[in-house]
């Protein structure tokens, strides 16, 4: 379940013209205070992700902040993903389970995020962060990661080992379902290269990754 905590209802209606996307449960924290915070949070049913307005004002306890809520959520629901949104933010910052994002950006991308969640059950904070460009960001992450790995490998003797590690990295890092065929093609291409006497050089491998990105953009 995806939960949304928002006290600015006007913003909600303004930025979500078609209403709150189905699958989102609005969570009321107006009764929350420092005494009952853990109790209320532990009663949140099966939370996959929670979207929190960072400047939410808690009428029952003015000293309570979203940082307290965030801390309690991480403790009680360690696998939960958290998006903290605020109108005062400029650029989004994303980590594995957390994103700090501008409110307007978050609401603009929320329908796409929820479409994905409903269809696949996947909760991709990258979609909230980059919208439709999340696939490109995903590939560029891999590109940089692979680039750094290959550039750091100085030992020609170990080049084949490096490429084998790269195949493992393809598996580990290209995780989007949408990229399944591209991922397989790259793995096949690398494995074919390894079978040859002279495996593809660093620049050829990196160019191949670039081609993969270009191709995914076209598709």
């Amino acid at each position: 379940m995806i939960y949304l905590v928002e006290d600015r209802k006007d913003r909600l209606s303004r930025l979500l013209k078609s209403g709150v996307p189905s699958g989102i449960e609005m969570l009321d924290m107006s009764e929350m205070n420092k005494e009952n915070i853990n109790d209320i949070i532990s009663k949140i049913d099966n939370p996959t992700a929670i979207l929190l307005h960072s400047s939410y004002t808690f009428p029952s306890d003015k000293s309570l902040t979203m940082k307290d809520v965030e801390g309690a959520l991480k403790t009680i629901h360690p696998n939960i993903k958290i998006a903290l949104f605020s109108g005062g933010l400029d650029n989004a910052i994303i980590t594995e389970r957390f994103v700090n994002i501008n409110s307007a950006d978050m609401y603009n991308r929320l329908p796409l995020f929820m479409d994905r969640y409903r269809e696949t059950g996947e909760c991709k904070l990258e979609i909230l962060t980059y919208g439709i460009s999340y696939i490109v960001n995903h590939l560029k992450q891999f590109q940089i990661s692979a680039g750094r790995m290959l550039m750091n490998s100085q030992d020609r003797e170990d080049w084949k080992k490096t490429l084998q590690k790269l195949i493992l990295r393809v598996d580990a890092q290209i995780t989007l379902e949408e990229l399944h065929s591209e991922k397989q093609q790259l793995k096949d291409w690398l494995q074919d290269g390894l079978k040859k006497g002279e495996p593809p050089s660093k620049d050829i491998v990196l160019n191949q990754i670039q081609r993969l990105i270009n191709k995914s953009q076209v598709s």
Partner: protein
């Protein structure tokens, strides 16, 4: 030549053999805080040129943020601003150049002189060869190209409105030599500000002390100013408090409850209650046009919260209330709606970073703001006129009500000619009333009043004394003579106590009841208006008769606001008198 590499620690091994490596943080959060001035200071000492190789996306998770490019831009700005032109910035990434152009928001940076892209897919040892030559960057060429980079205002300024507010507060504080307080967005730390700073030398311009301007506004002392702006706590309140209250003696009352309201309707209701509470004795309302988030998506400008509140203040509270719209909107349809339909008194612009970069423009806009404010304060008497009109209207017939309303409507018109005409019309109403009433005075049983006003024109005090001694019912009006003794300039009527010695004065009694006699007697003895009011009525009558009708006198007629208020008071009083 100094070669410096700016890479994240994750890529450090790639360039560890190279010249100088400065580690960039590998998280976006820390990259946003990265201080480029330190890098710049380290480089400044080199004389043969500087080459900076910067990783385009040091934070792998936020690959599309291109934080390295942002750092490159900030360094570029530093070079240009400091007049250093022997440098080269090389943006290095694993993607090809086409991909960089497609996804990097600031990819046009590559079109600036002294900036190149290096694809790390190739042999990175080529990099040294590629950057070996540093050509001098042409200053004007760099500025021209920078204009094509299209650096927009930061997205946390969710609107142009927000950044304009902060910009204007910043500029005005600078103009007065004050520190900007409560400016939350740290505008001057943003890439956007540094971009504008490079293009237009903003900071340099404000460093000059001669830019400091007077910080006192004359004519607003003891006046009450209500301020309704959702950005009030982002520097405006502090600025206005200092400007209006501390330096100029006015009282500033801001509406503060924006955070307590969520919906637009809640906000409107809260502001209306605030106006009900504070508006009665307010001399000027300063109102922003857009007060609620919904206003930014509103297509119908009559539904903007600032317009709705202004209409409430004018139509529901008092048409004479003075409102200055203080807004970032330079749209002519907003101005037209506010000025000509809602009937606000002034429309002042908050300067925007795109349009108002010239140093003098800040001052000119500020001067316009002050001029508008003072004009609103000056005309705040209108609210009393309108209020009084409504108070007395209840007991009047419809013709009288319409006349009073017409006077009120005409007074709301700004031009001085209309005000002159209104004043003279009011005089005619007073004159006619007095003439008609003089005949009717007997009705109230004061049968001797008419006799009081008949008599001879005596200039000899002995005759007057004699007259008084014989006829106790004689009332004497005295008229002051001009310095040269001419009667033509006699304008100032005085009423003399019968029992007071008056050898030193030159009173006379008019043989037949003249207009002046009629007016003054009815105003003073029937309506009990004080002597100074009678004097002012006579004075205007004299001016009209001599200056306007016969082009006499030595100056043009000058009608001050207090005369308008006074005459309106007189009319209200005499019309409502039973």
């Amino acid at each position: 030549m100094i070669l410096k590499y700016l890479f994240s620690s994750d890529s450090e091994a790639i360039f560890s053999r190279e010249s100088v490596v400065e580690r960039l943080p590998s998280t976006k959060e820390n990259l946003d805080k990265f201080d480029v001035s330190k890098v710049f200071e380290d480089l400044k000492s080199g004389e043969d040129g500087y080459v900076l190789v910067i990783e385009t996306s040091p934070d792998i998770q936020n690959a599309l943020s291109y934080d390295g490019v942002v750092i490159g831009l900030k360094l570029y700005f530093q070079f240009i601003q400091n007049g250093i032109y022997n440098f080269k910035i090389v943006l290095a990434g694993f993607e090809d150049k086409a991909s960089f152009f497609e996804y990097c928001e600031y990819s046009n940076f590559l079109k600036c002189p002294g900036v190149e892209y290096f694809n790390l897919n190739g042999n990175h040892e080529d990099l040294g060869a590629q950057v070996s030559s540093v050509k001098l960057v042409n200053h004007n060429h760099a500025l021209t190209r920078l204009k094509h980079v299209h650096i927009d205002h930061p997205s946390h300024y969710d609107s142009h409105h927000a950044i304009t507010n902060e910009w204007c507060v910043f500029r005005w504080n600078n103009m007065f030599g004050w520190k900007s307080e409560n400016v939350q967005g740290n505008l001057n730390q943003t890439l956007y500000f540094q971009y504008l700073d490079t293009l237009h030398h903003i900071r340099e311009k404000f460093k000059k002390k001669k830019h400091k301007k007077p910080t006192t506004i004359n004519g607003i002392e003891n006046k009450k100013i209500v301020f309704i702006d959702d950005e009030y706590n982002k520097g405006w309140y502090q600025l206005f408090k200092k400007l209006f209250e501390v330096n100029s003696g006015a009282t500033l009352v801001p509406f503060r409850d924006f955070d307590k309201c969520t919906t637009k309707q809640e906000l409107i209701s809260a502001i209306q209650k605030f106006v009900d509470r504070e508006g009665e004795d307010t001399d000027c309302f300063i109102i922003d046009l857009r007060l609620h988030d919904e206003d930014y998506a509103e297509k119908d400008n009559t539904k903007l919260t600032g317009q709705i509140i202004s209409k409430y203040i004018k139509d529901e509270k008092n048409r004479g209330n003075q409102i200055m719209m203080f807004t970032a909107s330079n749209k002519v349809w907003n101005l037209t709606e506010a000025l000509f339909k809602t009937g606000i008194s002034a429309y002042a612009l908050k300067e925007s970073p795109e349009l108002n970069l010239n140093r003098e423009e800040s001052y000119l806009l500020y001067c316009e703001f002050v001029k508008s404010l003072r004009e609103c304060i000056r005309r705040s008497y209108l609210k009393d006129i309108i209020r009084k009109t409504e108070e007395v209207s209840e007991g009047l017939d419809s013709l009288q009500v319409n006349n009073l309303k017409a006077i009120g409507d005409l007074l709301l018109i700004h031009d001085s000619l209309t005000l002159d005409v209104v004043a003279l019309t009011m005089l005619i109403i007073i004159e006619n009333h007095c003439k008609n009433h003089f005949e009717n005075i007997g009705i109230r049983g004061d049968t001797i009043l008419r006799k009081k006003l008949t008599g001879m024109n005596y200039e000899d005090i002995k005759v007057i004394q004699k007259c008084e001694a014989n006829r106790q019912d004689v009332t004497i009006f005295g008229f002051e003579l001009s310095k040269n003794g001419s009667h033509s300039n006699v304008t100032d009527v005085k009423f003399y106590d019968k029992y007071k010695r008056r050898e030193e004065i030159k009173p006379f009694v008019i043989p037949q009841p003249s207009d002046i006699t009629l007016i003054t007697s009815v105003l003073k003895y029937y309506h009990n208006l004080p002597e100074h009011i009678c004097r002012k009525v006579v004075k205007l009558k004299y001016k009209r008769n001599t200056i306007i009708a016969h082009q006499g006198g030595d100056s043009e007629i000058s009608l001050k606001d207090d005369i308008l208020v006074l005459f309106h008071d007189v009319i209200c009083k005499i019309l409502s008198s039973k």
